[in-house]
Amino acid sequence: MQLVTELLGGNRRALARLITLVENGDPLKNEILQSLYPHTGKAYVIGITGAPGSGKSSLVDRLLQEMRGAGLTVGVVAVDPNSPFTGGAILGDRIRMQDHALDRGVFIRSMGTRGSLGGLSRATRETIQLLDAFGKDLILVETVGVGQSEVDIVKTADTTVVVLTPAGGDSVQTLKAGIMEIADIFVINKADLPGTERAAAEVSAMLDLKSCCDWRPPVVPAVSTRGEGIGALWQSVQEHREYLEKSGRLLEIRKERISRELTEQVEHLVKTMVWEKIKVRMTLGSLVEEIALRRRDPYSAARELLAQIEFPVP
């Protein structure tokens, strides 16, 4: 495929076009990803997550400076939500990163969630692969502004940075499951606001209760608008990477990820196959009517639908 060859040759427009094709679920999607797969696996993926307005985009912008200063090339995937009503979206993360727009070592792509609820979009992982194959050393993934439980990023990133702000609630919040469990590094952003020390202390206290692992997530105060604490954050990212590499954890994490991807691929194929059959043979309309009238129930109806499909013998 021409575009794939161009991407591997370093053509930015080909990269952008291929991301669109993959994101739109183009019929060529699998062919594209298959042919690029041997060129992936080299990039290191860093996830940035946190509440809306916590300063994720500004942190990404500042981190880009550090990374470029270290001579590394970077791909950025920035995710913002699509409307559940119209499907439209305002993708505004780029605003904070425009200083890097002309740097050929940086490629920034904004994406909508397009119905996904885990803080990323379905095409995020595939876009990471394209940026990886393109040759970026590092890939920064900025999630949508999250609440407590959108934790897909931890399945995608090698290092996950959770961004908190001083006014994030009392110490019970730090005990809750979900977002507080996935951090490899905590950032207390907007650390010029009152309450920073208390917030940092509460996170540290929460970490004291957890004694399972060799890596204790550092808590880094930062003021991203002024560039304070960014050096320390970059340092922490590098230390975490070093820890993962030396302990063999990185290899484990990546194998777990591949195993999950393989499972998902199989599930996806089965799902597509089943629905194709069901669409061909029958419509759901009359069943829905009957279930709505309580003449039927969805549980036995589902089993009956499946019973009518002849599965191909593998």
């Binding site: 930015r12 427009r13 952008a16 076009r17 991301i19 669109t20 739109n24 679920g25 699509n82 409307s83 119209t86 499907g87 439209g88 979206a89 305002i90 993708l91 505004g92 780029r94 605003i95 425009q98 727009a101 002309l102 490629f107 920034i108 792509r109 904004s110 909508g112 397009r114 119905g115 996904s116 379905r122």
Partner: protein, 135 residues
């Protein structure tokens, strides 16, 4: 509604140059969002190079410029030139703002702008123009 498999119209809304009035751009961005499009908004004070590069990286279907500074006769041709350099000459370039009629005509005749919208043009006309161009 399955939103995962459909192709979406992606629009870059950019404010090149030095004027700081982004109300209009935001209203247009919101209208396009409500029409189901993905709008990449780049914020104020963009250079022509930044606009062209964002259009390339985001692989947009349409570029919309909002210019209220009066510098449109410089900015629009320059952005068109930079889009051409990136093989993005086929991407429709729309301009909105305070653009005198003769300038609008000149921009269109020179092939720099595909369409110029001025105050008073209904938002629906922008939405439907983009929809028609992206079919």
């Amino acid at each position: 509604m399955d939103m995962s498999s459909k192709r979406k119209i992606r629009v870059l809304v950019a404010k090149p140059g030095l004027d700081g009035h982004d109300r209009g751009a935001k209203v247009v961005a919101r209208a396009l969002r409500d029409a189901g499009m993905e709008v990449i908004y780049t914020g104020l004070h963009q250079t022509p190079e930044q606009v062209a590069e964002a259009a390339l990286q985001e692989d947009v279907d349409v570029v919309g410029l909002s210019i209220l500074s009066g510098a449109h006769m410089t900015l629009v041709p320059r952005i068109k030139e930079l889009l051409n350099e990136r093989q993005l000459g086929a991407v429709p370039l729309l301009v909105g703002g305070i653009i005198p009629e003769e300038d609008a005509l000149a921009l269109k005749q020179s092939g720099c702008a595909d369409r110029v919208f001025t105050p008073g043009d209904p938002l629906e006309s922008i939405v439907s123009y983009i929809r028609d161009r992206c079919i």
